[in-house]
Symmetry: C2
Subunit: 338 residues, 2 copies
């Protein structure tokens, strides 16, 4: 179990009110058909990104990067979609626990789970890490790959955020979706490297970001291969969890990708290590650090938040020349539905 | 530490003579420019493969598989290149230990490592698992990603096999390389899922098989992200090892790919679980099991070997309709240099 602080943070923020609105209503997926592929970006950051891409994809440039090495990595929560007031997957965990409770009467025998099911987060908060693990295991573990994927699919197709009144899968940062497409159109491979659960993101990342499951890296739990029921299945079990945050991100990049990225997008101190790792490449690299500065169109936070805290990465950005994106002024549009 | 039996097997076989010939001489990489993409296959297995591909890529077929789900997985040792008389990576481990010994005088203070360096495998064999781990850690651990990759690169470009007198990277099964290309030309993604080390294979898999590092899955050890030297690096450390064999293969497929494959190539009981997992797909699947039957052109083995043992998978192949490839009669050519 690595990075307990990260899980503690999740515990803290999940202790807030977490109910969401589920409605069977299709939403609009954020896409852009503009010829200007980065139309939602303000001129200055757009020029910086375009200049870098033009330089490293020009075969006559001394900074040319061969196609096989055009590896780019992006955090998800706070970088591709919002993470306030609490991370979206925490809302799924609570909603899925409630959905599973119908066939799991034993949940009600546990004070923590019973509390969450009934909307009382007190016992969860009081139980600390042990309580959080109960919630994670009950909502994410002890089920087959297929069962879990179906639950996520149904949830992501229906669950809506309160502030925006939209499906979560439609509340994604338009400039970042444009950036993913722009990089892919220049033969970069785009990977997600997120503290969120890989299994959770893989269900919808292709539809929402155009990123296939095998290019989605995230936190993950133990598994077991099981043929006892007559069919070969992968069971999500309740053992250790690898938390893909902070130093775990470059570790996961090595384990899953096996190459040092040349571009990294992130938004918090949790992404700092993978930016440092990206910056260690032999190639000319680019790191983009989102600063959440827009309380009207999205959320404003940095220093004092628990999820998405941004302090040391901002300081290092100045030293290393990473592009800091002030979302209020650098994103002409944040969401496609604005 | 999973699947200790697998590591014990490696210990047993590494106890044989493991010296190899390193020569600074470029070799010919196995490629095929023929219009018949499966020209090295005999007619019957070729027809079976082509029939399946035509069926599942025909959008009017009831067995059509959308491009996004065309995931194929291949074992490496014994499936894409030989694994006899001992797995190639074991030879690398010994050669790399010797190469590192020049800058690691402490190796000679250890009886096991000293024995291996001097060509005496007795102490290694006597030390059992602890001895094997010493060899693995000394040759593969305690070094940066960059150092290890450079060592593998130099070795794979120069090390030759005794029986064939060729570079190891050129001793690959021509029909299987053709099959990889044929599948990719039909918009399948090709992944390696091997008991061999991911870090070892990723250095050369793109050159040899056309498979990029992030589609190479294998056994892997612990890592640490380290910035103490002023540069961000990944250190290969000496902790637990995930052994990607038997039930570990479907687990790794879930963890790294996140989708159930529709095609699987293997050659031993170690690949049986991933064939069962592939067969559990909702789509019409194909599994191809190589049977090493040619003692003249390659090696003949199955029941009584330790590395590449083939018994229960062969029995299940008959029940499940997996395609068993008799390498002597079904491969018109085994190697491009024949």
């Amino acid at each position: 179990m690595k990075h307990l602080f990260f899980l503690c943070s999740v515990l803290f923020i999940i202790s807030c009110n977490t109910s969401s609105t589920n409605e069977m209503q299709a939403g609009q997926t954020a896409t852009s058909q503009n010829i200007d592929m980065l139309s939602a970006w303000a001129d200055t950051p757009k020029a910086a990104i375009e200049d870098w891409v033009k330089d490293v994809t020009d075969s006559s440039s001394k900074n040319f990067i061969p196609v096989k090495d055009r590896i780019t990595v992006f955090d998800n929560d706070g970088t591709l979609w919002p993470e306030q007031p609490i991370p979206t997957q925490a809302i799924f965990a609570v909603d899925n626990l409630k959905a599973l409770a119908a066939t799991h009467p034993e949940f009600l025998k546990d004070p923590v789970l019973k509390g969450v099911i009934n909307g009382d987060m007190g016992p969860l908060k009081k139980a600390g890490m042990a309580g959080l693990m109960k919630l994670i295991y009950a909502s994410h573990g002890n089920q087959t790959e297929e069962q879990f994927n179906s639950s996520v699919r149904e949830w992501i197709d229906t669950a809506k955020d309160k502030k925006f009144g939209k499906l979560y899968k439609d509340i994604v940062y338009l400039p970042m979706v444009q950036l993913l497409k722009y990089l892919r159109s220049n033969q970069f491979k785009t990977f997600i490297v997120s503290g969120g659960g890989a299994d959770f993101m893989r269900v919808w990342a292709e539809e929402v970001y155009g990123i296939p499951p095998y290019q989605v890296i995230g936190s993950y739990g133990d598994l077991s291969f099981d043929t006892t029921g007559g069919k070969a299945v992968i069971m999500k079990t309740t053992g250790d969890i690898f938390v893909d945050d902070k130093g775990g991100k470059p570790e996961a990049i090595h384990r899953f990708i096996g190459q040092i990225p040349v571009f990294c997008g992130g938004n918090s101190d949790g992404d700092q290590a993978m930016m440092e790792y990206t910056s260690s490449s032999k190639y000319k690299t680019m790191c983009v650090l989102l600063h959440h500065t827009d309380s009207t169109r999205e959320y404003k936070y940095d220093l004092h938040t628990i999820s998405g805290r941004l302090q040391t990465a901002l300081e290092e950005a100045k030293q290393k020349g990473w592009l800091v994106v002030d979302m209020q002024k650098d994103f002409k549009k944040i969401f496609s539905f604005e």
